[in-house]
């Protein structure tokens, strides 16, 4: 049985590769025993297709996946608003493992689309819940990429009851190298905090503009803030990254770091470590395989659904994905149901702050304060 990984391998190679590796790792583990269905034991085979961040290419890839009789598609999320229909026509389930836009998931209208990744809605509301009591006046900065636009929508909704916490709301050009004027406008609006929702390049550009002008304003970001690209861009000024706080899906469960570290060990044994390219305390910094974890979990849920359905028919597998639960790579339970196709609950979004190029969960948030710091150096 074929699983297609539809991701931006050429434009966001780190992201594409980590998603692919997560899917491959799960498939190899499932294949150790195979999936017995009606007297036949099946293996999972992973095939990759590059979206290049183009919605049009994503749709073409989805058609190819259907033509290959793929049993499921693991998708980064680009172009999903169009491609899900192609998959639906063949009953193929799609697991989104990166994009967090609210409209992507709707069990009523898009019954074949599932997601294991923090939602923009959850991230925005958790950020509001965390920041409003701090009495900061925030500049909401979002770029004009799909990711930034979805973030703008989520932030507008999250801060709708607390507009007094918003000093300025501004859209940034995602391809601009210098965001000095926009950051200056935020400063003149008497912002006391920047909430930047954009691609990693945008976040790096905002940090550069603010810090190079001597403005040591606190900066908050969605999960993109942990992308290695930002640290690579600011490698010459590690102190500029210090204090940046991002919201992300928790990597460990109540049982502790054991399950996650076990997963990370398997991942690194199979594919090597993902080096960030900077150092902390003189030691090389590595990136935890977060998106890989989500792809890994989706493939495991898929295998559980195949077993329970006792069928390789995609429509049956899609329906059965609502009825199975597995233990995720981090030890948390992963599950969908008929009302909810989100595998990461909003409650599981935590905050972490950078110091010397590595991050640690903050202590002034109830969930984050319970989480351990994961090793990020070699």
């Amino acid at each position: 049985m074929t699983i297609v990984v539809n991701a931006p391998f050429s434009r966001s190679p780190y992201l594409g590769r980590t998603i692919e590796n997560g899917a491959r790792l799960a498939a190899s583990e499932v294949n150790a025993g195979g999936i017995p269905i009606a007297g036949t034991t099946y293996d999972l085979r992973v095939v990759t297709m590059d979206t290049a961040l183009s919605p049009a290419r994503a749709v073409v890839n989805m058609r190819r996946a259907v033509a290959k009789h793929a049993v499921a598609v693991v998708d980064e999320g680009t172009g999903i608003d169009a491609s899900w229909r192609v998959a639906r026509s063949a009953g193929v389930p799609v697991g989104v493992v990166f994009e967090g836009g609210r409209e992507i998931i709707d069990p009523e209208t898009r019954p074949n689309v599932f997601r294991i990744a923090p939602t923009d809605h959850g991230v925005a509301f958790r950020l509001a819940e965390y920041l409003v009591p701090k009495r900061l006046r925030l500049a909401l900065l979002h770029d004009d990429s799909d990711y930034g636009a979805a973030g703008e929508q989520a932030l507008t909704s999250a801060f709708s009851q607390n507009r007094s916490s918003v000093a300025i709301d501004e859209t940034l050009p995602s391809d601009a190298l210098d965001l000095g004027p926009q950051v200056l406008r935020a400063r003149r609006a008497h912002a006391t905090g920047l909430l930047v929702w954009g691609r990693p390049a945008t976040i790096a550009a905002v940090l550069t503009a603010a810090r190079s002008s001597g403005w040591n304003v606190p900066v908050f970001t969605p999960p993109a803030g942990s992308d290695p690209f930002i640290r690579q861009q600011l490698a010459d000024h590690p102190q500029w990254v210090d204090g940046v706080t991002f919201a992300g899906g928790r990597l460990t469960a109540e049982v502790g770091t054991g399950p996650y570290l076990g997963f990370e060990h398997k991942y690194e044994s199979s594919f090597g470590v993902d080096r960030v390219g900077v150092e902390s305390g003189g030691r090389p910094v590595i990136a935890p395989p977060e998106s890989a974890m989500y792809a890994y979990d989706f493939v495991n849920l898929l295998a559980a659904a195949l077993l329970k359905a006792g069928s390789t028919e995609p429509a049956k597998v899609t329906a059965t994905l609502n009825e199975v639960t597995t233990e995720g790579a981090n030890g948390d339970q992963r599950a969908f149901n008929r009302h909810n196709h989100e595998g990461v609950v909003d409650d599981d979004i935590y905050f972490a702050r950078f110091q010397d190029m590595i991050y640690a969960p903050v202590k002034d948030d109830p969930l984050s304060a319970t989480l351990p710091t994961l090793p990020q150096t070699q």
């Binding site: 109540e254 609502n322 009302h339």
Partner: protein, 351 residues
């Protein structure tokens, strides 16, 4: 049932106690916690994914039962409120023959729906209230309701359906330990604590027997203009008259078993009474837990509200469109068919 009784006998601890009278053997009384049937709680109850700790949960459930003219339930909804304590992640599965589920006002999160369960997942910052309003399949959930109502012309019959026959044992027993245990059981129930298991010192060989266990039901409300405030036990209650039914039912503590005077009762009689008390408490606990509680030791409370209602009208039958044909067309068709038949006959005659 016989097998259960034999198993219980086999499980008895027959260790002689230094404190007991000579030749008295210690035996366990039936558990006041172990369910006596598969349901309630519905669909196997509830589970919590183990993540190294346990949440403390108090569950309150209101079951709304809509009755038709004959008293038969045609719609059952359950609203379950979980008061969850202890900081940390939660993942609860509440078994139920659920058709749909929604978050009720005041819930901190939304429940998930599966074919046979309600799902809760999230992080509890210390205390969290989860409230689900579930529409249940009437055919699958009605058999687990504690009261059946039969309406016929001029009378309403209330039938306690909690009765179950279960295995137990009988023997001669020492009186003082049984009196102490019954008093302790009564105290625990009065304080709302989880009852603890107990034992007895028997002076003869235990023999298996069966007991019919019925939970007394506190029934309040109205039937027509008549006010009802009574306890329905093993005997059905017949109310003369009729009218809309609005009754609230809760499983009641078997006070008689726990607190009736025991003076003059033999050890054998007291043993049966203590066994009956623990089994009735176990059965009561089942009806206090119509929907499962993910915390096995958590407090449970269930109120059943029976209400007369109108069955929803079945969807209007669709009348298929059939084009009208006038008599001239019909005659023309018949003539055409006859002509065709005649032609076919002529061809066949020549062939």
């Amino acid at each position: 049932m016989r097998r259960i009784a034999l198993a219980m006998l086999a499980g008895l601890t027959v260790a002689a106690s230094a404190h007991a009278a000579p030749r008295a053997n210690y035996v366990s009384l039936p558990s006041p916690l172990a369910p006596l049937s598969a349901s309630p709680p519905l669909s196997g109850g509830a589970t919590a994914a183990a993540e190294g700790f346990r949440h403390r949960i108090a569950a309150k459930t209101r079951v709304d039962v809509a009755l038709d003219r004959t008293g038969a339930p045609f719609a059952v909804t359950a609203t379950q409120r979980l008061d969850v304590r202890v900081l940390g992640d939660y993942f609860f599965t509440i078994g139920a023959p659920v058709l749909d589920v929604q978050a009720a006002p005041g819930s901190a999160s939304s429940p998930g729906l599966r074919s046979a369960s309600i799902l809760w997942a999230g992080f509890n910052p210390g205390r969290r209230t989860l409230i689900a309003r579930a529409t249940l399949a009437p055919a699958a959930s009605a058999p687990s309701l504690p009261l059946r109502i039969e309406v016929t012309r001029g009378r309403v019959k209330l039938v306690n359906t909690t009765g179950v026959t279960t295995g137990s044992y009988t023997a001669d027993a020492l009186v003082p330990p049984l009196l102490r245990y019954l008093a302790e059981l009564q105290r625990q129930v009065a304080r709302g604590e989880t009852p603890t298991s107990g034992g007895a010192y028997v002076t003869s060989k235990p023999t298996s027997t069966t007991l019919r266990i019925v939970v007394p039901l506190r029934v309040t409300g109205t039937v027509g203009t008549r006010t009802v405030n009574t306890v329905v036990d093993g005997n059905a209650l017949i109310l003369r008259g009729g009218g809309p039914i609005r009754l609230t039912v809760t499983a009641a503590v078997p006070q008689q078993l726990l607190s009736d005077p025991a003076a003059g009762q033999s050890g054998r009689r007291l043993l049966e009474r203590a066994s009956r008390a623990t089994l009735t408490l176990a059965r009561m606990r089942q009806y206090q837990t119509f929907l499962g509680n993910p915390d096995p030791t958590g407090a449970n409370e269930t109120t059943y509200a029976y209400r007369s209602a109108s069955r929803p009208a079945p969807p209007a039958a669709t009348i298929p469109y059939s084009p009208q044909r006038d008599w001239t067309t019909t005659i023309a068709v018949v003539i055409g068919l006859l002509a065709a038949a005649a032609g076919a006959a002529a061809l066949w005659a020549r062939s």
